[in-house]
């Protein structure tokens, strides 16, 4: 099986936020929840870089390790998903996540946390594939349709790559060799405990 990963080539990201918009629209993500976001570091200074970040679907995922109700599971494609019927909205996954991926609707007591929502790698959840129940809880399931995540698919500069880790690493490697320098496979060291060898 493939080992699905995201790879963000910060050299190419132009902070158009199309990935954010595509994600929100595809999954009808409610107001206040951002499964994907673009963060700009060194804004307005030399060396400005924008990085599109969502759940990186970590190897040895910290969210799964700390979850008090054990609601996370990893698919055969190494996509980290969770069961919203089991989630209690305690917020522990947000404390452990290095990327700030888990999001919580403010529906709990005193406007605190409801059930956690995060990037599913367009792979839905534990409900039957592409059912109405799955769509309401997790959004569309493109993986079950043989498609890759929409954010990466429609990235205009192809800064954001999604797919099998080896394949996207090879694309990035060729880019780096061609242009002569890298921009870092953002989050790889933290999420996968490895980086792209050039």
């Amino acid at each position: 099986m493939a080992r699905m990963k995201f790879l963000l080539d910060a050299e190419r990201c132009i902070e158009c936020n199309a990935c954010v918009t595509a994600c929100k629209n595809e999954h009808e993500v409610p107001w206040g929840i951002n499964r994907r976001r673009v963060v700009t570091i060194n804004d307005g200074k030399p060396g400005e870089r924008s990085i599109s970040m969502a759940c990186m679907h970590c190897t040895d995922a910290p969210c799964a390790a700390v979850c008090p109700v054990s609601c996370f599971y990893t698919t055969a494609d190494a996509i980290v998903l969770h069961d919203k019927d089991l989630c209690i909205g305690c917020g522990y996954c947000f404390y452990a996540c290095p990327f700030g991926a888990p999001q919580y609707p403010r529906v709990g007591n005193f406007g605190s946390r409801g059930k956690m929502d995060k990037c599913t790698y367009c792979a839905g959840g534990p409900q039957a594939d592409n059912t109405q129940a799955e769509y309401i809880q997790y959004g569309s399931n493109r993986i079950a349709e043989g498609k890759l995540p929409l954010c990466a698919e429609m990235c205009s500069t192809k800064a954001l790559l999604a797919g099998d880790g080896q394949v996207i690493a090879q694309i990035y490697r060729e880019r780096v060799q061609k242009r002569g320098y890298g921009s870092g496979a953002w989050g790889w060291r933290t999420a996968y405990r490895e980086t792209v060898a050039i």
Partner: protein, 338 residues
């Protein structure tokens, strides 16, 4: 501070990037401070420049917490939650239970010396008792639901199954969110009601030196509260205040603090809580099955006179001097009235 370090890294990097690269557009890319490394704006380099700190930037969505790009501290928090807290909590709670079992086996139930007098004296009034039980009942529920968050996944989940366990944990979360308020109110009232009798003094040192009459022999002098009870009082009020303040940080996420503050709040909240649970186990034991006559103080509020003389001799003397003597039992009749 982060911005400052990042800016510093940039200043260091700018001249090197210019010479090392043929492509002009990378000039100014943040690089490793080591001149031998090629200039890259990758995760490792930025993390290095920030000395393993949080990488944050600008964000265009309203949620400013999302501006934090990578926070490696999540790993430390994970280690705390899964390893440190589990061990500290496990040892504190199970260790205290073991100590109590050993204590019970070796010393047995602590009797009232000379037997019960049959005459009682008022120890706690209705307000004091009601407040004690408000704090006690909320504390027990908070303690059980809190322990469930740390240990339930390993202990209860395999027994009851995921759906039932989620239902239990969900109720535990609601209980935590709502009972926090009566608990805090009770802690404040408790402080106001009892602080005057709980100021530590030299007598407490003597009480502890004598082992509180539990370990050694003889009964050290004690006023309304002995050294051990004063300890419980201050652990309850100061510890309770600590868990309350850190707890409100957690109930109202990110209202008062950022991700680092949330992690710290959880660390303080959970460690103080498990230690308080261990202390309260001892308190519950000695106040119920561990000592003859002790539970009356918090149930009827009337304690046996001999119990009071044994454990709080100076307090009894004071009460007697005030004319609040021991009341005879309801069945007693005046001598010669038969």
């Amino acid at each position: 501070m982060r911005a400052l370090i990042l800016a510093l890294a940039l200043i260091l990097a700018a001249p090197m990037a210019g010479q090392a690269q043929t492509a002009p557009q990378v000039s100014g890319t943040p690089t490793s401070p080591t001149p031998m490394m090629p200039p890259v704006a990758d995760e490792l380099e930025v993390l290095k420049a920030l000395q393993g700190g949080r990488v944050a930037g600008r964000i265009t969505i309203p949620d400013q917490q999302a501006a934090s790009l990578i926070q490696p501290q999540g790993r430390s928090w994970r280690d705390f939650h899964n390893v440190t807290l589990a061990w500290v909590g496990g040892i504190a709670v199970l260790g205290m239970l073991a100590i109590l079992v050993v204590f019970r086996m070796s010393k047995g139930r602590i009797p009232v010396e000379g037997g019960l007098a049959g005459r009682t004296i008022q120890r706690f009034n209705g307000l004091e008792r009601a407040n004690h039980w408000m704090v006690a009942s909320t504390f027990i529920i908070l303690a059980i639901s809190g322990l469930n968050l740390t240990f339930g996944r390993h202990v209860l989940l395999p027994i009851v199954g995921p759906e039932a366990f989620t239902a239990i944990s969900q109720w535990g979360k609601y209980a935590h969110n709502f009972l926090a308020f009566p608990f805090t109110l009770g802690i404040v009232l408790m402080l106001l009601l009892w602080v005057k009798d709980n100021i530590p003094n030299g007598r407490d040192i003597k009480w502890f030196a004598a082992g509180g009459g539990l370990v050694g022999h003889g009964h050290p002098d004690s006023e309304r509260f002995n050294g051990g009870q004063k300890g419980i009082f201050w652990i309850t009020t100061l510890g309770g205040a600590t868990v309350a303040v850190t707890g409100y940080m957690l109930v109202f996420p990110f209202m008062f603090t950022d991700i680092a503050g949330m992690q710290l709040s959880h660390i303080i909240h959970s460690i103080v809580s498990v230690l308080m649970i261990a202390v309260m186990l001892a308190h519950i034991y000695i106040g119920s099955i561990g000592m003859e006559g002790a539970s009356d103080a918090m149930t009827t509020g009337q304690v046996d006179l001999n119990w009071a003389k044994q454990h709080h001799n100076l307090w009894v003397e004071k009460e007697m001097a005030k004319g609040r003597g021991a009341e005879p039992p309801a069945s007693a009749r005046a001598a010669g009235a038969d």
